[in-house]
C-alpha cells in the first residue's frame, strides 16, 4: 500500500517555513496551526474508531452471532460455537494478514508502549471472537448440512490462503462468501422448516414434505427473527472490518520510510 503525503502540508505542520515577508509569515503560521488541528482531530477520530468503535462492533457481533430465537415463544437460545468455528476464525485471521487487512508489524511492536500493545491485543481478541461467531451464525447447527457447509467454508478459506489478495478484493470476496452462506441457511434451508413438529401436525396442515425434509436434514426450528438478527450481525461484522485500520494509529507511530518523488515533489511512504 502506498500513501502520498503532501510535502508542503507536512512542512507546514512542522512549522519550519521561513518567509521574508511578515504577511506571508503570518499566513504560514495560521496555515500551520489549522493543519496541525486538522491532523490532530483526524488522528483523534482514527483512535476512536480503532479503540472504541471497532471493538464495540466486534463485541456486538460476538454476542449476536450465537443468538437464536425459538420457534415456539421466541425464547433466547444461545448456541456456543463449534470447534470448527475456532479453526475457521484462525484461518481467517491468517487471511487478513496475508491480504494486508491487518499488518502485524503495525499492530504489535517493541517500539510501542506496553499499553498500546495491550490495547491492540484487546482489539485483535475482539476481532477473533467476532470472526468465530460469524461462522457460528452461518454454519447450520447440526446434522449433515453442518458438515457440508463446513467443508465448503474450509475449501474456500484454504484456497484463498494461497491466492494473491488485495484488501479490497478480500472484503468483497468475504462479503460474497458470507452472503451466500446466509442465503443458504436463512432463506433456502429455513423455508423447509415447519414451525410445529410432529407427524400429525404436519399431516393436518398439509406440510408433510416439509416436515420430512426438516427431519431428514435435522433442521432446527427457529423463529423468523433469527434471520433478521443474523443479517445485522453479518452487516456489522463487515462494517467492523471496513473501519479497522491496517496499521494501528497512535502518537508513537513507527518511523515512516519512503522517498521524495522527483516528479511531484511529494513523499511516497512504503509500508
Amino acid at each position: 500500500m502506498t500513501s502520498m503525503i503532501n510535502e508542503n502540508e507536512s512542512t507546514a505542520i512542522e512549522g519550519e517555513i521561513i518567509s521574508d515577508s511578515p504577511d506571508d509569515e503570518e499566513k504560514t503560521i495560521v496555515a500551520a496551526k489549522s493543519s496541525r488541528e486538522i491532523a490532530v482531530r483526524s488522528n483523534d477520530s482514527a483512535l476512536w474508531f480503532q479503540y472504541f468503535a471497532a471493538p464495540a462492533i466486534f463485541l456486538l457481533v460476538a454476542f449476536l452471532g450465537g443468538l437464536r430465537l425459538g420457534a415456539a415463544d421466541n425464547e433466547f437460545l444461545f448456541h456456543a460455537p463449534a470447534l470448527v468455528c475456532l479453526i475457521f476464525a484462525l484461518m481467517l485471521q491468517v487471511l487478513f494478514v496475508r491480504a494486508r487487512l491487518i499488518e502485524v508489524d503495525g499492530w504489535f511492536s517493541d517500539a510501542f508502549p506496553p499499553l498500546r500493545n495491550a490495547a491492540n491485543t484487546a482489539v485483535m481478541i475482539a476481532l477473533f471472537a467476532a470472526s468465530m461467531q460469524v461462522f457460528n451464525a452461518l454454519i447450520p447447527e447440526q446434522g449433515l448440512l453442518f458438515w457440508i457447509v463446513s467443508f465448503f467454508f474450509l475449501w474456500s478459506l484454504w484456497t484463498n490462503l494461497f491466492a494473491e489478495f488485495e484488501t479490497k478484493k478480500l472484503l468483497v470476496s468475504l462479503g460474497s462468501l458470507f452472503g451466500m452462506a446466509f442465503i443458504v441457511k436463512y432463506l433456502i434451508l429455513s423455508s423447509f422448516v415447519v414451525p410445529e413438529s410432529g407427524f400429525f401436525n404436519a399431516l393436518l396442515s398439509g406440510n408433510l414434505t416439509r416436515e420430512t425434509l426438516t427431519s431428514l436434514l435435522d433442521l432446527p426450528r427457529y423463529s423468523a427473527g433469527t434471520g433478521y438478527i443474523q443479517f445485522f450481525t453479518l452487516v456489522l461484522y463487515l462494517i467492523g472490518l471496513y473501519i479497522l485500520p491496517p496499521v494501528s494509529k497512535g502518537r508513537h507511530s513507527l518511523p515512516v520510510s519512503g522517498k521524495i518523488s522527483s516528479e511531484t515533489g511529494s513523499l511516497e511512504t512504503i509500508s
Binding site: Y51, A62, G66, E75, F76, L115, A118, A119, A122, V123
Partner: protein
C-alpha cells in the same frame, strides 16, 4: 481524549463485555427475566466461593433456625430446602446431619420405608461422616445423635429381612 485513556477504555471494554458474553452463553437465559435471576444466582455463588477461599464461610444462621423450626413441625421438604440454602457449600456437619435426618423421618414408615428417600439419606449421612467423623448432635429432640447410628438405621431400613414380615413391626416408633 487522551490516547492512553482510549486504550484503557478499549482494554476494559473488551474484558468486561467479553466476560459478560461468555457468562451469557454459559448461563443461557431464555428471556430477559431469567437474565436477572441467573445473574443473582451467579453473584451468590461467587460470593460463597470467595468466602470459602478467604476462610470466612459461615452458615446462614437465620435460614438454619428456620429450617430447624420446619423440621420440628415435620415439614421436611421445606426444612431441607432451607438447610441447603443455609449451607450452599455443604461444609457444616450439623446442617448436613439435619438434612440426612429429614430423609430418615420423611421416609420412615410403620409398615414399610420409602427406599428412595432412605437411599438419599444414606448418601447424605456419608457426607456428614466425611465432614466430621466425631460429629455428635446437640439436639435433644433427636434420638440418633451420631452419623453412625443414623447410617445403621438407613442400612437396616433398606435391607429386606424376615423381620420385615413381623406384624409387631407396626408397634415400633420412629426415632
Amino acid at each position: 481524549m487522551n490516547e492512553k485513556y482510549l486504550q484503557i477504555l478499549s482494554i476494559s471494554m473488551v474484558a468486561v463485555f467479553g466476560s459478560l458474553i461468555v457468562w451469557i452463553y454459559w448461563a443461557a437465559p431464555k428471556n430477559f427475566e431469567e437474565i436477572s435471576i441467573k445473574a443473582q444466582s451467579t453473584i451468590e455463588n461467587i460470593s460463597t466461593k470467595t468466602q470459602v477461599i478467604t476462610n470466612t464461610y459461615e452458615v446462614d444462621r437465620a435460614k438454619f433456625d428456620e429450617g430447624v423450626k420446619n423440621f420440628r413441625e415435620e415439614n421436611y421438604i421445606l426444612a431441607r430446602d432451607l438447610f441447603e440454602r443455609a449451607d450452599p457449600e455443604r461444609r457444616d456437619a450439623a446442617t448436613q446431619f439435619y438434612i440426612a435426618y429429614s430423609f430418615y423421618r420423611q421416609g420412615w414408615g410403620r409398615v414399610s420405608n420409602d427406599d428412595e428417600l432412605f437411599q438419599k439419606g444414606l448418601e447424605q449421612v456419608n457426607r456428614v461422616a466425611a465432614l466430621d467423623k466425631d460429629f455428635v448432635s446437640s439436639d435433644a429432640d433427636l434420638q440418633l445423635k451420631t452419623p453412625v447410628e443414623l447410617k445403621n438405621e438407613f442400612e437396616e431400613g433398606l435391607k429386606i429381612t424376615a423381620g420385615d414380615f413381623n406384624p409387631l413391626r407396626i408397634l415400633r416408633e420412629r426415632k
